[in-house]
Subunit: 389 residues, 2 copies
DNA sequence: CTGTTAGCGCCTTCAG
DNA sequence: CTGAAGGCGCTAACAG
């Protein structure tokens, strides 16, 4: 910039103005400035330096506690991220994807601590985790998605104790930095939806119900869920859905049993594997409660593999109500995925604007389609599924 | 940082060292520094300032010339982005999504010009567009995905003409900035795959073939493709696939005809709409060439709506070979989507490391499954599809 | 309408 | 092992 200024015999401020405040200099001069800039190969103000000076980056970070490829592979996540991006784009904000590094050597907090962003959105993180603490420690506008309500968060001492003067007393041209951690929460009624799903199955007379759980926490590896593990579920949505299932059970006739497995990843094939294992080890199961439609899709595939007709021999319920689930005739719990993204975006915008938006809790609904039916009669039930070829 | 230094009676350099070079000070002092920092509410070095000083941000921008939500809605894009992210994560690089603003008032170049990034990846942009020029003008390490080979790109004068001294002569501690635009290309054999698909159909005897095109360019709106519009296709993959179809046609028996429509967006429902319109206005069509599996999925749905059995009455071919396409028994053109992402990531890493990776062109293949069959006999063909209810 | 000034927060060489 | 100094590139106030 100085080069350009010198070449024209003007001051750097004038060059800066040529880019940022056209009204501050004559149109002719402005043209000349832009022109020589081009000649000199100067492409305009450096975004980084500008951000430093202005105190804003125009970037919002999304924290995702898993390899980033999962985010793109999961349709529900993609849907959410898409609508979030759309909401933020309206304010010219871009999305920075912050995932924990694949390399286990690397510091999983580094991305969060090192990102130049104006705000942070936590999409997936274990409750009460280091990661979450690192996010909060940045004292940036933060939106927590599908996390326990803020009131339940451990309080964090973040008020800087100023040694003598406010740091920026001599800098009236910068907006006074507000160092309070400003956070807001958006979530859905996870437990409520789960309760509806389990209830529906019990109303249909099912007494032996398999549950395909989403990950219980970061890198758990899947498999049967012991009561011990059930107590330590780290991912809030998983915990809540489980709680919902349990609540329905407790409210219904006693004698109904749940058989829990954890899918290693939220993919159809992991869902299929889980379902297969579960159905073979517990032949009395007549219904499957899946914590996602993706998992349910796998369950459907498993049923087909085992020659179990859905819904006559096996009922299946999903969660999310993805766009493709209607085609599959899947009974499922609907959640307002897109709206959630939009709400999160709006909350962030409000936070950025200095407001403190209230926490939001969005409803869920049971959508009954063709994949659930009354418990098969005992004779049919007695038919033990044939072992795999 | 100064606060912390003052509170401890040490210099700021020492505080900085506490964070960045533990070997430069005693463990005890380091502990004390970190400790008082915590007490004072100092969360560590500001990433922005650090980036400015170091000259690196640890962020790679992905340029996407459409509302960002499209990127997430398109499974092929998601797959690509996922594997790209994974490759980049290995080098602790994060992904910044740079989409053109939804607001048509806003400057579509702003995101590209204003992003603080170490490199740029162009995933979707019209060839020879302003956007592409703006990307190249940044003189950053750049990878062009599915764009015409670099040799065909308009040359850009980007060498800065230094007025007197190299700007950084007095700053030997910073890596000498290399201002040459370093770009590399990764693409697939779009035309080749398309040719195979069209050929397959012609081998099966089809003579009236409908084509469901991806967008021809930014915001075109869809609809029938006139020869005029066909000449001006702005998106390279669309142009190439079209060229491939045409090549097969030219090589085959004369008398075969193509009927072109553009889908407004790459979604199943747009695909269905297109297919419906096409099949109703041109009842002689017995096969559909779709430029994506997503579009093909819509075509399949349209066929069902019209009561046209696939493949007996109507053959359908897709493009991409998505994970779900096998279940649909869709004949399609496979492309190495994940590998493409990985290659792009590697190319970026090489560029960042000062190397100049060669351009890469990945192969495509025809995967024949159940959605294509020989042209129906004349009598069957004469059955005009029933109008919609 | 233009120029001067004073940093934004940090890192790194170099001298002690 | 520690401290002083200079500057990354830019912008906003203020004075002319």
């Amino acid at each position: 910039m100085r080069e350009v200024a010198r070449a024209l015999g003007v001051s750097v401020a004038t060059v800066s103005n040529a880019y940022n405040r056209p009204d501050q200099l004559s149109a002719g001069l402005r043209e000349r400035v832009l022109d020589t800039a081009r000649t000199l190969g100067y492409g305009g103000p450096d975004p980084l330096a500008r951000s430093l000076r202005r105190g804003r980056t125009g970037v919002i970070g999304v924290v995702y506690d898993a390899p980033l490829e999962y985010a793109f592979a999961d349709p529900a996540a993609a849907l959410f991220l898409g609508s979030l991006a759309q909401a933020l784009q309206a304010a010219s904000l871009n999305l920075l994807l912050l995932a924990s590094p694949g390399d286990p050597q690397a510091d999983p907090l580094a991305p969060v601590q090192g990102a130049s962003v104006d705000g942070l959105i936590v999409y997936s993180a274990a409750q009460d985790s280091e990661l979450l603490r690192a996010v909060l420690a940045r004292s940036l506008p933060t939106v927590l998605v599908d996390q326990p309500m803020l009131a339940d968060q451990p309080v964090l001492i973040n008020q800087p104790i100023l040694v003598d003067q406010p740091v920026q007393a001599d800098h009236p041209d910068l907006p006074a930095q507000d160092h309070r951690a400003q956070a807001s929460g958006v979530q859905i009624d996870d437990a409520g939806g789960a309760r509806l799903a389990a209830q529906h199955l019990m109303d249909l007379g099912h007494t032996h119900i398999g549950v395909l759980c989403l990950e219980l926490g970061p890198r758990q590896g899947g498999g049967p869920v012991t009561p011990e593990r059930e107590r330590r579920v780290a991912y809030h949505p998983t915990a809540e859905r489980l709680r919902g299932y349990r609540e329905a059970l407790d409210a219904g006739p006693s004698g109904t049993r749940l058989f829990l497995t954890e899918a290693e990843r939220n993919t159809p094939s992991d869902g299929a594997t889980c379902a297969l294992n579960l159905l073979q080890s517990e032949p009395e199961i007549t219904a499957l409660l899946c914590m996602s439609d993706v998992l349910a899709q796998g369950a459907l595939r498993a049923a087909q593999t085992l020659g179990l007709s859905v819904p006559h021999r096996l009922s299946v319920i999903g969660y999310d109500d993805l766009p493709g689930s209607a085609d599959l005739k899947l009974t499922t719990v609907w959640q307002p995925t897109s709206e959630k993204g939009q709400r999160v975006g709006e909350a962030m915008l409000a936070l950025l604007g200095g407001q403190t938006p209230p926490d939001v809790r969005l409803p869920t609904r049971l959508v009954v389609r063709g994949s659930t039916a009354a418990r098969p009669t005992t004779s049919a039930q007695a038919t033990r599924p044939s072992p795999l070829p």
